[in-house]
């Protein structure tokens, strides 16, 4: 197999720790006068975005540029993709242009996996979020942030740390990737959501599920709030915004019941007043902004480890045989 990052589930503990440790070293670059490394000089990274996500796209772009890669941004909007060109033809075009890596964001679950295994392209594929499947670099940057706050850092995993993920688990690729990665790193994960927003079949996931945020919040080393889209209300996943916020939102009172060292996380963009109150979002326990900073270091680490050598230093994509 080639060198891809498709799913957080593909990463072993050692792979994950290697990525986190590498990111830890790369984060120190921020303190240097020249925040750039020559490592990927002459390599081309294509950001192939079928969904709008300026935040993720510029994070990957900054990461690739700090490693001296050439970056091409390919947005589905206003391109031939919106005129009916297939994923395959887009991929063949990128291949013809000599892309060494394709960072793909796609609305269809499994599209990065398809891209990596179809033989359409020869370069690396990095999943930047696919449908309601996975978003592995988000999980890595979340784990990086937790490790910095909750452990002594480099070389460590998250063994025994209690992480609570709250919100729309059903539609969240962030939650899926986090559950896999955090379990691999030894953390104890609890998902909290109204039963309508918990996936059918969740019992096979390496985590606990609770419908009661108050019962869990006091035992959490980190509480990760997921964005809840207001349109879910119209599909009867919950009755009203007010009821959601009351039962599953994080406010000052609930935050006060968290252990002193515990942090509040949010992948952004935040729905203030919905899943998180302004008081919590603006408190110094909330790592949302730091997560964005860490995202660049993590994506640099991933690009370096996938592209920096003659073969990948981290796991291959899942194959049919290996599941």
């Amino acid at each position: 197999m080639k060198r891809h990052l498709i799913s957080a589930a593909d990463l072993s503990r050692d792979d994950a720790v290697l990525i986190l440790d590498t990111a830890e070293e790369l984060a120190r670059l921020a303190d240097r006068p020249i925040k750039k490394l020559p490592t990927l000089r002459g390599r081309t990274v294509v950001n192939l975005f079928f969904e709008d996500s300026t935040r993720t796209r510029i994070s990957f772009e900054a990461a690739a540029k700090r490693l001296s890669a050439d970056v091409i941004n390919f947005s589905a909007k206003g391109s031939s993709v919106s005129k009916g060109e297939s994923l395959k033809d887009t991929a063949l075009t990128l291949e013809a242009m000599g892309a060494d890596a394709v960072v793909i964001r796609h609305h269809s679950s499994g599209a990065p996996h398809r891209l990596a295994t179809s033989g359409w392209i020869g370069g690396s594929v990095v999943n930047a979020g696919d449908g309601t499947h996975e978003h592995p670099t988000q999980a890595l940057l979340d784990a990086f942030t937790m490790r910095r706050h909750l452990t002594s850092g480099t070389g460590q995993d998250l063994a025994g740390r209690r992480i609570t993920i709250v919100g729309d688990i059903l539609h969240s690729r962030v939650a899926r990737s986090n559950v896999h990665l955090l379990a691999t790193l030894g953390a104890e994960v609890t998902l909290v959501a109204p039963p309508t927003l918990v996936p059918f079949g969740v019992e096979s996931w390496p985590c606990e599920v609770s419908y009661d945020l108050d019962a869990v919040v006091g035992k959490s080393d980190a509480v990760m709030m997921l964005r809840v889209q207001r349109e879910r209300m119209n599909a009867a996943f919950f009755p009203t915004e007010r009821e959601y916020a009351r039962r599953y939102g994080l406010d000052g009172d609930r935050m006060a019941r968290m252990p002193e060292h515990a942090i509040v996380m949010h992948p952004g963009p935040m729905n203030r007043g919905m899943e998180i109150t302004a008081e919590v979002a603006d408190s110094d326990r909330c790592t949302a902004v730091e997560q964005v900073t860490n995202g660049v270091s993590i994506r640099m680490a991933v690009l370096y480890l996938l592209l920096g050598g003659n073969e990948s230093a981290v796991a291959a994509a899942r194959t049919e045989e290996s599941k």
């Binding site: 006068p33 020559p38 003659n310």
Partner: protein, 194 residues
Amino acid sequence: MDAHTSSPARSVLEAPDIARVLTRIAHEIVERAKGADDVVLLGIPTRGVHLARRLAARLEEITDRAPGEVPVGSLDITMYRDDLRLRPARALARTEIPGDGIDGRLVVLVDDVLFSGRTIRAALDALGDIGRPRAVQLAVLVDRGHRELPIRADYVGKNLPTSLRETVKVQLTEEDGRDSVLLGLRETAPADGQ
């Protein structure tokens, strides 16, 4: 250092020899740097860092400074290597630049073995992205020859003429539990299927 070393390896330097040559190098640095007041020692991971720390301790003794007064750090050159694409990507080592930086200072790079010179070339590139030293010098425990770039060391513990079939392995207590420099024979080309 070379991979695929095979025994029997012959010891060419033992712990007392290493201690002696490090002391000599420290004296040479003081002599050439006229007191070594602005010296910053940067070791190249892994063993270069330990050697840099040992040299710093000796410089402090010689120049009568308190422990920790001679700035010492580490400089990882992985991201600057010219052979990245010949091998799998590897873990990064720590780059630790002393608090006052390297601008206007005399940086002495410290490594265990000087061979092709490519590591030092990468280190010079890395330094350029960190600051602008007054001058850069190079100290190595062993110079085994076979340079592929126009680079030479300013301080050499031992010149060790070798053939390309030979390997030089430096062992240091901090990493390996003992101090020694071993000269061995490279295994013939790895057999098929290895």
